[in-house]
């Protein structure tokens, strides 16, 4: 298989004050995460708020400078290089379509900015043509080009955000919760559009969301994160039906099924308590404080992220017993 993006032992720590002058404390937002994405594939990342999925996405395209680890894009190590040429290839769509568009720029400026920076158009007319082609591709039209973001609904704004990321003809797009802020009926429009664009342009996605049903629908493979760690990574159907990690199992069972006959019989594995603070994560396996199978070894030793079946990775001491 042809790997487009490879993330190796990525660590992203953020300073969080200090308890004394020399003893700095860090929030380990992402701690030793490795995965790779094949060309033309969609990798989904799920997890609860604060588990580090957005940070992973941003670090992958170096919107955060990784504390440690390597990011390899198309065979080249880009962890320390000048990103400008790579920004053309790697783009991002943000979660909140209200906060991620500059209210004082017109749509054509928002979409055209990247075209200017990368000097992709030789004349004004060509720039305009390019902008309109992109707008049409995301289901908007030329009339929209001179309007401002506030004139659009949430779904349309998200289309503008997607148009902006497409302006430079990228190969890889990080989609950071692109549909969570949208209404259900609009959500399906945007999901379908992501799929169509992938078919037409051969895009590769890292699709981040907290809604497992959405991620399962769009992704080929899914990674599950918990407290800055990847705990399970598998094919999306395999993960939805034969998950191995106790956290993934509870996550799958916790989703309310929109089907009364199934959901009345649904047995939820309800996790006790809340996610521990990432400032002071539990020793050993980070999930052990909420895990019903936890034993002594879970507290002492960190489970290895290993392949238990073909293309199915899990980090758990007990899942294969």
């Amino acid at each position: 298989m042809n790997k487009l993006v490879e993330v190796q032992n990525l660590k992203q720590y953020f300073p969080a004050g200090s308890n004394s002058l020399f003893n700095k404390r860090f929030i380990k937002a992402v701690d030793d995460v490795s995965f790779s994405i094949n060309k033309g594939e969609t990798l989904g990342l799920v997890g609860e708020s604060g588990c580090g999925k957005t940070t992973t996405g941003k670090s992958t395209i170096r919107l955060h400078e990784p504390t440690a680890g390597k990011i390899i894009y198309d065979g080249k190590d880009i962890t320390k290089v000048n990103m400008l040429p790579y920004r053309r290839k790697m783009q991002i769509v943000f979660q909140d379509p209200y906060a991620s568009l500059d209210p004082r720029m017109t749509v054509s400026d928002i979409v055209g900015e990247a075209i200017d920076i990368h000097k992709l158009a030789s004349s004004k007319a060509e720039r305009k043509d390019k902008v309109i082609t992109i707008l049409e591709r995301v289901g908007l039209n030329s009339e929209h080009a001179n309007r401002f973001p506030h004139e659009f609904s949430g779904g349309q704004r998200q289309r503008i955000g997607i148009a902006r990321s497409l302006a430079v003809d990228p190969e890889f797009i990080v989609c950071d919760e692109p549909v969570s802020a949208l209404d259900v009926s609009i959500q399906a429009q945007i999901i379908n559009m992501f799929e169509d664009l992938q078919d037409e342009m051969g895009l590769t996605y890292l699709f981040i969301a907290h809604d497992l049903s959405v991620v399962k629908h769009i992704s080929n493979r899914i990674g599950v994160m918990y407290l800055g760690k990847l705990v399970e990574l598998a094919d999306s159907l395999e993960l939805a039906f034969h998950s191995l990690h106790p956290y993934t199992k509870s996550l799958v069972s916790a989703i309310p099924v929109p089907d009364p006959r199934i959901s009345r019989q649904q047995k939820r594995i309800v996790l006790e308590g809340d996610v521990p603070s990432p400032l002071d994560p539990p020793s050993g396996c980070r999930f052990r404080t909420r895990c019903q199978y936890a034993t002594k070894i879970c507290a002492e030793q960190e489970p290895e992220f290993k392949e238990v079946a073909s293309d199915h990775f899990v980090a758990c001491h007990h899942c294969c017993e």
């Binding site: 399906a188 907290h210 916790a254 099924v257 009364p260």
Partner: protein, 335 residues
């Protein structure tokens, strides 16, 4: 005393904004018996929250009830004074809001906020109120209630705060609990905890619940009856099974097809509802869903469809269900 606990009849409610009149509710009728669990689903701006708020007499400015009546347990809520409403709010009806982060007062302890309700509505003294508060925290599954009572909201996590909100809502054993998107702001595993808790409490206390949400999964697991709202109108009403397995309104059908399902084994493309939600300042004449509807006929653009009974406990407002419409399609008059 009527046989219904909640009886909202032909309620019309508008917000008079500087930009014009927004008809937030358009002829809404809801009837609930004691012990019913009703789910109201709809997109943002469809009027689901306003319906519930109007039931508590909590319509914010510049909203006004134009016509219709709201009865709760025999009380005419739409004509009562603020003072009379206060006797009922928090006592017989209570509400849980969407965002537990902003609906608790940050400068009072949790205990203080629970006791306030008890002291206001019962003749318990402070000590008894404290005991009751402790009992309530136990009921909603909070460990070490005595310690928690002395804490401030910022010391608790989101899930815990929502549990405190539920404790406050249950303080006087209300006849009706309104839950306005109670789990939307929470993570999936915490959402599961809260839903489980509400299911338990429903059985223990036997109160009626109105569950407002946009998540069809949540209503499927909680509610017996479901009202689907679109642009300030209930477009379909029926039992959960009827709505999910026998939907008759095009909007309901569209909603059910447009959600990705975790249980699907092969990749089916989603079928979205095309177009954008209604601009409530300029709603279309006729059926509000007509501009997005695949089966739209001429009459849909002109006149509001009446309610048609599908069966005893299931009705829907769609011209397609009218017998003449079928005839007209057959004769080639419509479309």
């Amino acid at each position: 005393m009527s046989e219904y606990l909640v009886n909202i009849q032909n309620l019309k409610l508008s917000f008079f904004t500087p930009a014009g009149e927004v008809k937030a509710l358009n002829d809404v009728t809801i009837q609930m018996k004691q012990g019913d669990v009703l789910g109201i689903v709809g997109e943002s701006g469809s009027g689901k929250s306003v319906t519930a708020y109007s039931l508590m007499g909590l319509v914010p400015e510049p909203g006004r009830i134009i016509s219709g009546s709201i009865e709760f347990d025999g009380h005419p809520m739409h004509t009562m004074t603020e003072k009379e409403l206060r006797q009922i709010r928090g006592n017989e009806i209570s509400i849980i809001f969407q965002d537990p982060m902003t609906s608790l007062n940050p400068v009072f302890t949790v205990g203080n906020q629970i006791e306030e309700v008890i002291l206001l509505h019962t003749d318990k003294n402070r000590k008894q109120a404290r005991e009751r508060a402790e009992e309530l925290l136990n009921l909603v599954g909070i460990n070490e209630p005595r310690k928690r009572l002395r804490q401030y909201p910022h010391e608790l996590s989101g899930g815990m705060r929502q549990r405190v909100m539920i404790a406050i809502a249950l303080a006087c054993e209300p006849k009706l609990l309104i839950a306005d998107e109670p789990t939307t702001a929470l993570d999936v595993t915490i959402q599961a905890q809260i839903l489980e808790l509400m299911n338990d409490l429903k059985e223990k206390i036997g109160m009626s619940i109105i569950m407002i949400t946009h998540d069809l999964g949540v209503v499927a697991s909680m509610c017996e009856k479901i009202a689907v709202m679109y642009a300030g109108k209930i477009v379909e009403y029926g039992t959960a099974d009827e709505i999910f397995y026998n939907p008759h309104h095009e909007y309901t059908k569209g909603l059910l097809l447009s959600i990705p399902k975790l249980t699907a084994t092969d990749h089916e493309k989603l079928i979205p509802i095309e177009g954008t939600p209604v601009d409530m300042l300029m709603p279309p004449k006729g059926c509000p869903f007509a501009p997005r509807c695949n089966s739209c006929m001429k009459i849909c653009l002109k006149e509001m469809p009446p309610y048609t009974d599908v069966n005893d406990d299931h009705y829907s407002a769609c011209w397609l269900l009218q017998k003449q419409a079928y005839k007209m399609i057959k004769d080639g008059v419509a479309r």
